[in-house]
Symmetry: C2
Subunit: 395 residues, 2 copies
């Protein structure tokens, strides 16, 4: 008798992966250029040129024993120091190198953070729509996954729903801003009210709730006025789970970090728990070469203007065709209302127009679909008539 | 209330790490060249030159979107195909690409394998002396860690002890050959008898026991006649947990794999459980660049003749000074009998001679110390008078 939960997890692909695989098959059947694949969140813009040159330079000029050797479990000290200084300068925080723990990307950041925090039966709240793997990560860490429905249409936090979801067993709230799949960003007002609500909950029942801030999309915002508040400036009981997968287009290399606020009472225990969880899950250390890379390109991003142009074109066009969507402030996803109640049926009908879009059900939100616009701009332009025809099929 | 187990794990460094940190401090006090650090298993020989040239070539000539993008969760198909073909040729197996699952190194291979197999309360047996993290990994996967004492002096499997340890709850046996910390290799006879014992256990009580074969040291054997049997040729219910950390001197880059025997009844469920466990633990995929590297250097090793010379010199010298040790057939560790019953006291006394060696207690074996001889040969030569003086202090 194997671990049945993991057998099932391994057998059932996420619906996103399922659609992605269908797309590969379909392209082989009718030709690459005839399929419009908006299924997956794989950056379409290359890493900035500094990545290639820095990698080449590091490999050429570093002693291989040092370059490829173990780093400390938390990560190379110099790298963490650079990240602390940069974060302090950028967000006016007062972190030091030992607030940072380098990880193998955002998923690792999340599983480590959850395993550091949770005891069996603890509850973790996420807001709809949410990244589906949250449920897998929370349950694997022994927790119970609780969803709180967001505001209709805006997908901002509905505080009444949050308050109703908080219990004495709530250990953490996950926020993800900019959001996958909606692209919504929480402004300072929302973050303030969230902090107030959790503080209030603590005052009422003595239960401390942590905020896990999952922010792989922090750098992907498109309008000058959009600010993504830095959680530690509002709430000390926070863990920032960061990844360079999307900002530097390095999703396959697995590099990110967890930052813990040293001003939090109980900081040293929490940081120790992060180290212990990383150890128990088998992470040892984040890849040395990519840690060194980050020390040189931490303030760079891929050319995100491509995503912005895609967003603007897609949003304007869908609106023109009669679709209803939230205009995404960030990330590279658009959440579009299904013209029929069942979004699965809508996504199925889209397939007839060779449009691959993901039904919102796995994100905890039926009635919507996710369109990933991290795609070749040319493909997007060629797909517009298909979106138009799809809209018209509902008239 | 955080997860206290992980808080403790993060606070208490392993005794190996503790000694390594002491060594760093001591070197700063009295000078690098005066401290003889045999504490840690960090390869001292650089990666073979092919690693640098292949990395440079891949970075120069691969489209960055493809190079740094996600691979499938199991790993890049071409890489897995190459590994399957190579394994088949080398060990006369009949594996295919879908028997392989690329991982972030040996620790990841082990935690994924254990989470694939174990249900809460399942027992996992390891033989003394064992790598201390086994206990951490097994317990984190919900299992109970059981140790079976090996034969005195030879550290081969004691089958009476194994039989006494097997129960209806035994889910797996971990073997590690060449062994950390003893350097002992299990020959074909031992592997045959182990397979027979587990098959016999199944016939008696219907409980199937898997073998987890942890082999980061497979390539590190020093005598032509030493063969490391390939477990799948003896027992189908096996998972091979491989890592390139030691063979290619890449411990900080985290690259390895799990291989599962497709001839095993129930193979597809087990492989699915491996995929599911990797997903639930947050691994997503092994680093893309290093997967591609492995496709080019899978049959290379660092210059292990350095370790062989170290072994020969250290073994001959310790014997001459009156120490008793198992001559290691592989890995880069020597397990030496403490001249006093308490190995911790012995290791403490060694410190007075600036010799950093690890007491065997954490490896489940008091009365012995581990000497890591993956060190600069010059340092080893300079350390010999200290070993001699240490020996004489007991006369």
């Amino acid at each position: 008798m194997l671990n049945q939960k993991n057998v099932e997890l391994g057998k059932v692909r996420s619906s996103i992966r399922e659609l992605f695989e269908y797309g590969k098959k379909r392209k082989a059947e009718i030709g690459e250029e005839k399929v419009f694949d908006f299924s997956i969140g794989n950056p379409s813009v290359p890493a900035p040129p500094e990545v290639r040159s820095a990698l080449a330079e590091i490999i050429e000029n570093t002693d291989p024993v040092e370059l490829h050797g173990y780093t400390s479990a938390q990560g190379n000290y110099e790298v963490r120091k650079i990240l602390a200084d940069y974060t302090n300068k950028r967000f006016n925080t007062s972190l030091n190198a030992d607030c940072f723990y380098m990880t193998c990307g955002a998923a690792a950041s999340l599983t480590i953070a959850l395993n550091a925090l949770l005891n069996d039966g603890d509850e973790v709240i996420a807001f709809t729509p949410f990244f589906p793997e949250y449920r897998v990560f929370v349950e694997n860490a022994g927790g119970k996954f609780i969803t709180a429905e967001s505001e209709n249409r805006t997908f901002q936090i509905n505080f009444k729903n949050l308050e109703n979801s908080l219990t004495v067993k709530t250990k953490a709230v996950i926020i993800n801003s900019p959001n996958n799949p909606s692209g919504v960003v929480y402004g300072a007002d929302v973050i303030k009210r969230l902090s107030y609500t959790l503080e209030n909950h603590y005052n009422k029942c003595g239960n401390r709730v942590y905020i896990i801030c999952d922010e792989p999309y922090r750098e992907l915002v498109y309008d000058r006025q959009t600010e993504v508040p830095y959680i530690m400036n509002y709430y000390h009981y926070s863990l920032v789970c960061y990844s360079y997968s999307k900002s530097l287009s390095l999703p396959g290399e697995r590099i990110g970090y967890i930052a813990v606020d040293s001003q939090m009472p109980g900081f040293s225990d929490l940081y120790a728990a992060v180290c212990g969880a990383g150890r128990a899950l088998g992470f040892v250390c984040a890849p040395n070469l990519f840690q060194r890379l980050i020390a040189r390109v931490y303030d760079k991003t891929s050319d995100i203007s491509v995503y912005k142009k895609n967003r603007d074109l897609l949003y304007a066009s869908l609106k023109e065709y009669g679709f209803e969507a939230v205009k995404p402030d960030g990330a590279f996803y658009m959440f579009v209302k299904s013209p029929e109640p069942d979004a699965v049926a809508f996504a199925e009908r889209a397939k007839k127009y060779e449009l691959l879009i993901v039904a919102g059900n796995d994100f905890g939100c039926n009635g919507y679909v996710r369109i990933s616009y991290c795609v070749n701009p040319d493909m997007l332009r060629r797909a517009l008539p298909a979106f138009k025809a799809l809209a018209e099929s509902y008239k």
